[in-house]
Amino acid sequence: MSNRAFAPVALAVALALAAASQLVTNEYFFTAGYTVLLFVILATAWNILGGYTGYVNFGSAAFFAIGAYTTVALYNAFKAPLPVTIVAGTAVAGLAGLGLGYLTLRLRGVFFAIASLALAVVLYVFVVNWDFVGGARGAYILQPREVPFGMPRYIHLIYSVQLLMVALALVVARAIEHSTLGRGLAAIRDDELAAECSGVPTLRLKIFSAMASCALMGMAGTTFPYYLSYIEPSSAFSLSYAVNSIAMPLIGGMMSWIGPLIGAVLLGTVQQLVQVTVSSAWNLLIVGVLLVLFVTLAPNGIMGWVEAWRRRRER
């Protein structure tokens, strides 16, 4: 399917799913569904830089929180409506990714990874000290009383918006993957020196890929303050976002856009179940153990198994 054809299909599927979900009467479905969708966006976004380009971003939580806190800042300043904060949060996170990439992507890949991890710590310190967005106490955001499109509650709207964002993230990831740009990124991943020598503008491609990836993570965060009507730094910067957005593509498979989707839906759903039935600390331990097991024993993830199975059948 061409990129041009994929976009309307993805959008149509997202709209259909959003419409069909309105029939669900259980409130909890939307609360859990929102979290899973959030992880789908983060995993897809992480994979643009991690899977396609081969650069590890440990700061997913930082970019997610940039999106969330842009919403809080604009809400506190002008009571800005959701569409405005979505655009603004995406842009700010993209700029942050651009800046971090510009400073560290010229050096060895590992420096970007370490800098992204450190960025999360520093932004956390910054937000804790910034009283305008609530500081360490956290901030309240009121959900508008009138919910558009005749939806019964605000969570229904947030959930549907998140579904559209998933479609957008998948379209962007797939468009990058199936283009000259994607081939350039794959060349960087496989052998950066050889790519540079063959005339691939490696630095520019890497910075672009970092920007796109971080912008999508920021976009995922913009709706988060409305999710519980309350946000505080340690939940917005939670290390679980960083771990999940790495674990999900690794478990699903990093070579194509479908891997992170599979990994995020699977792992996200399992986590929701464990969180309800056991506890949230155990749920984090499971993610960590799965990450280590998959990365050591099944480095190509679930899609790697599918590929191997397909190849065996062809023979």
Binding site: G54, T104, I114, L250, V295
Partner: protein
């Protein structure tokens, strides 16, 4: 703005003492990342593990945490060797260390943190020693023993590592691994074995640094993360693979953090290491004493 002399003197002393501790935190990263090219971002997890072991032994038997950590450091050494073995077989051998190896260490960091939370909860733990509340005064200068004892042991440990690396056959082999593994193989030395031992040494220093940490401040599982940026900042600032550079970088960072705490407030201190890291990467990637 008039700055009182006593405040300034004490900020410098606190910075130097803190810097000594940071050197213990970073010397292991300097070995693993700077010399062996193993990007062990799980290093702080072993520091926190060392803190908790020192805490348990101190809590049960009342032994001095630092002495305990020195006695138990061979265990950390073995743990480090085992970890490197897994890392080598799963990633280095297959040439996948850059992405999957990093994710592996990140997973280890995360598992250790969550496991400690499950066992001990998120409460802060602390130890009591005979010197915890003692402060030695010289004029306006204060030397809190809580910081000074870890400082002395730490500087001794870092200098010991430096001597080990420069004066012994094993040490020269480690330095050779850092420069050219193929050449080492041609000389009949097994680089994997050398790296295994050196990685064990790196984790052993982490265990001791953990005991320093719990003497200096109360510890809870999640604070390990703050030391990732710090350890790598010190390592890069000092110059990759230079132990004396690491010591110097640690003092620079300690003083910078102490000044930030004194003049802007302690809540800003964790941001200093990242600022220094970014500034070093942007302006002098080879560090202070880099080759």
């Amino acid at each position: 703005m008039e700055i009182p002399t006593a405040l300034l003197v004490n900020a410098i002393i606190a910075g130097l003492l803190l810097g000594g501790f940071y050197a213990a935190v970073s010397v292991g990263v300097s070995i693993s990342f700077g010399m062996l090219d193993v990007v062990n971002i799980a290093h702080p997890a072993f520091i926190i593990l060392g803190s908790y072991i020192a805490y348990i032994v101190n809590d049960r038997f009342g032994f001095d945490p630092i002495a305990v950590s020195l006695v138990l450091s061979p265990l950390f050494f073995l743990l480090g060797m085992a970890l490197y073995r897994v890392y080598y077989l799963s990633f280095e051998k297959r040439g996948q260390e850059s992405l999957r190896g990093l994710a592996f260490f990140f997973g280890i960091l995360f598992i250790t943190e969550v496991a400690l939370v499950l066992i001990f909860g998120v409460d802060y733990r602390m130890v009591s020693t005979r010197y915890s509340d003692v402060t030695w005064r010289a004029g306006v200068a204060d030397f809190p023993m809580r910081l000074a004892v870890p400082f002395l042991v730490s500087v001794a440990m870092v200098l010991g590592v430096q001597l080990l690396l420069t004066r012994t056959f094993f040490g020269r082999a480690v330095l050779a691994v850092a420069q050219d593994q193929l050449a080492l193989r041609l000389m009949g030395v097994n680089p994997v074995r050398v790296k295994e031992l050196a990685f064990g040494l790196s984790i052993a220093t982490a265990g001791v640094a953990g005991a320093f940490l719990i003497v200096i401040q109360p510890v809870q599982p999640a604070i390990g993360r703050e030391f990732i940026g710090l350890a790598f900042a010190v390592c890069v600032l000092g110059g990759m693979g230079s132990i004396l550079g690491t010591l110097l970088g640690a003092f620079v960072l300690g003083i910078a953090e102490s000044f930030t705490s004194t003049f802007f407030g302690p809540s800003w201190a964790p941001a200093v290491s990242f600022g220094l890291l970014l500034a070093t990467l942007a302006f002098r990637p080879s560090g202070l004493l880099g080759r």
